[in-house]
Amino acid sequence: MEWFLGQLARFYAPENLGLLWQSIGMTIALTFIGVGVGFVLAIVVAIVRQSPGWGMLPFRIAAIGFVEIFRRIPFLVVTYLVLFLIAAFVKGASLFLIAIVAICIYATAYLSEIIRGGIESVPRQQVEAATVMNFTRWQTLWHVIFPQSIPVILPPAVAFMIAFIKDTSLVSQIGVFELSFRGKELVNQGMSGLFVFGMIAVIYFCLSYPLTRFGRWLEIRLATSRSQGPERQLR
């Protein structure tokens, strides 16, 4: 008990708190910026993948290749690839930026599949109704497909983002100062690994668990709102 309190006092010592907050902030920033930008790129990839015509064929192939390849490489390997690729051509690139690029690539590959599923969930007849009224492809996407696919896309996309809070721990390996990195630092300073990583796990849990609950709530709410009239809550 005494040992525990001693470790606790050291872990949360005033001079350490600033760094701890900084590392938590970094974990959150990595997740939200990386996955957020990834989501926007994923929309582009999903649209390209659905685009018609021979002219778009090379882009379609590139989009499919991108998605299928990066969903089959470990995130850690993607991170190292980005690190070494950027390091090879740019001197002194920031580690934060490298981590964000890696997260973006990974998130884009996964989220574009989720978005594709959402787009495909919109019945073909909705598109036909738009087509015969002379909607262009973009107008159909904007007015009909996106609004109708959001309730399908949002729950798994949010779940992906929340799960990524945990996956960001891997970028500690290239030296980004986030929560896991801070944990290793404290152990290197002679603190107990048992205590530090136990505590770090608890902090991750506190970040992840409430958001997981929020995600589940969102899923239920969107599911029920859909049966009563879709997207009323979203307009």
């Binding site: 109704a129 002379n134 909607f135």
Partner: protein, 245 residues
């Protein structure tokens, strides 16, 4: 000159030929019904006309001007003049009634919103839905949804209205409210091509009836004559079956 002229129209889904040379025409203001057993290709005729199932042969002309189905611009121009109403209504699920009816005229044709909304309110009033402007499709009955779909087509100010089995998906007690809306349109002199199974309605409203089977026109003639005294064996068989039901 005929308002709509269809010559030797053919179409296929993949390798399956669904239309094998269909000929017919509509005069301005004429109401023609397409009847026939399921799979005879009558719905495909309508889909082909608006380019949803692009024709593989033959010609379609509006006011003598042929539609080139390989040209986007030509198809768009044709869709400006023809509106189609689907069996399953196909209302946009994410929009309320008023938005469903006004979106195409406002966003696609660029007409002033105020003017379009006034039109929409009047048309929705005519089909008896003045109090449902802000309801969403899944809050409406099938009959109400189908009337919204008709209003949506009318708000596009089409010259020719194509109706694809608009009452087939409805409960029997809701059929009449939709037919009433179509009767009202007939009075206004709209050119209409109607695919329908309601033989009583067909006899009442159509000036001519076209019987299709296996992707071709079997027989064609004035409504009463064709339905009550068909000349061909195939037509006798078809109408005999239908009337027995």
């Amino acid at each position: 000159m005929q308002h709509l002229e269809v010559r030797d129209l053919s179409a296929s889904y993949g390798s399956l030929a669904v239309l094998a040379g269909v000929d017919f025409s509509l005069a301005r203001g004429e109401i023609v019904c397409l009847v026939g057993p399921s799979g005879s290709g009558k719905s495909t005729v309508l889909r082909a006309l608006v380019g949803l199932t692009p024709p593989t042969g033959g010609s379609v002309a509006i006011d003598g001007k042929a539609i080139d189905y390989r040209s986007k611009a030509s198809v768009r121009a044709a869709r400006d003049r023809m509106a189609i109403v689907f069996q399953q209504y196909n209302l946009f699920q994410n929009m309320d009634v008023l938005r469903n009816v006004t979106i195409a005229p406002v966003e696609i044709k660029g007409r002033p919103r105020g003017e379009v909304e006034a039109d929409a309110r009047r048309i929705l009033g005519n089909v008896g839905l003045a109090d449902k402007l802000h309801a969403y499709p899944d809050q409406l009955s099938g009959g109400q949804q189908q009337r919204v779909a008709i209003a949506r087509a009318l708000c596009l100010k089409p010259e020719i209205l194509l109706l694809d089995e608009v009452t087939s998906a409805l409960d029997p007690e809701l059929v009449n409210e939709v037919l009433d809306s179509i009767r009202a349109l007939a009075m206004e002199g709209m050119t209409m091509l109607i695919v329908s199974h309601e033989m009583a309605f067909v006899k009442e409203i159509a000036s001519r009836v076209i019987l299709m089977d296996h992707g071709v026109v079997v027989e064609e003639g004035p409504a009463r004559e064709l339905v009550d005294a068909p000349r061909t064996e195939r037509a006798r068989e078809f109408f005999g079956k239908i009337l027995r039901h």
